[in-house]
Subunit: 153 residues, 2 copies
């Protein structure tokens, strides 16, 4: 839990501050990279779901959960810099304007997401499918909460 909170705190820090490192990434690439992160997490969520629905491979689930947590903890907030609130070049984005104004709400969904992702990785390492099912559902709810509030249809 202490580690999860530390991770969440780091995610928020990265969300709040455009770091030197991220400032050098063009807005078009920021959109590309954040979409890549969500896309890759989506593949791994799908793998976990398939395992929960069918025959359960502990190693595959643990690896998928670690990939999701690694991405969740990587400070993706830095990929929402100025100029990324609308389509840029070839990169389309569905982010709503509210994402850039509702700091309190975004901080909450980001913390919830980080905590749930880290919890899933922890639970998946233990290999108990029933516990993974709960943690997976909890993580899915945090994805949906952000999509409902900040992603256009």
């Amino acid at each position: 839990m202490k580690k999860s909170l530390a991770h969440a705190a780091f995610g928020i820090l990265a969300l709040a501050l455009a770091t030197t490192a991220s400032a050098q990434v063009k807005p078009e690439d920021q959109i590309k990279y954040r979409k890549a992160g969500y896309s890759f997490m989506s593949w791994n969520m799908g793998k976990i779901k398939t395992n929960l629905d069918g025959s359960y491979n502990k190693d595959q689930v643990a690896a998928a959960a670690n990939a999701i947590a690694g991405i969740a903890n990587s400070g993706m907030g830095a990929l929402y810099g100025p100029g990324t609130e609308k389509d840029v070049g070839a990169q389309k984005t569905r982010v709503k304007p509210e994402f850039f104004s509702d700091k309190e709400g975004v901080t909450k969904v980001a913390i919830d997401f980080n905590k749930a992702a880290n919890n899933l990785a922890k639970v998946a390492a233990d290999g108990d499918a029933a516990a993974v099912k709960v943690a997976f559902g909890d993580l899915g709810k945090t994805c949906k909460a952000c999509h409902d509030q900040y992603r256009a249809e």
Copy 2:
């Protein structure tokens, strides 16, 4: 080291076998997801490089290295299934035909990549910038080795 090798072995297993989970992913989506994984790793490699070239933020580097390792260990080999050796729909791929025939060579670059990614994550957790520089260079070499052999210009 034992953990790194276990991770590498899992990556290879995933590379060799199209699992039930991955078999349900359409070829077009397999290409989309593998490109997303490389793209997201690229962002994190860039962040580490920026830290090594400028002021060093241990937490940011460790998080980036964990994201890379999480993706590297996620069994991306399953995203090179039948039908993904050329462009599908909107998804373009630069993978060379040799990738699908040279099993021994691909296994080697995959193992080297997994080991280097796990080593970087381990070293980054310790926070020694000089050691991270070496591990980062080693990982970059494994990326380049695969690109040189199996990625078209």
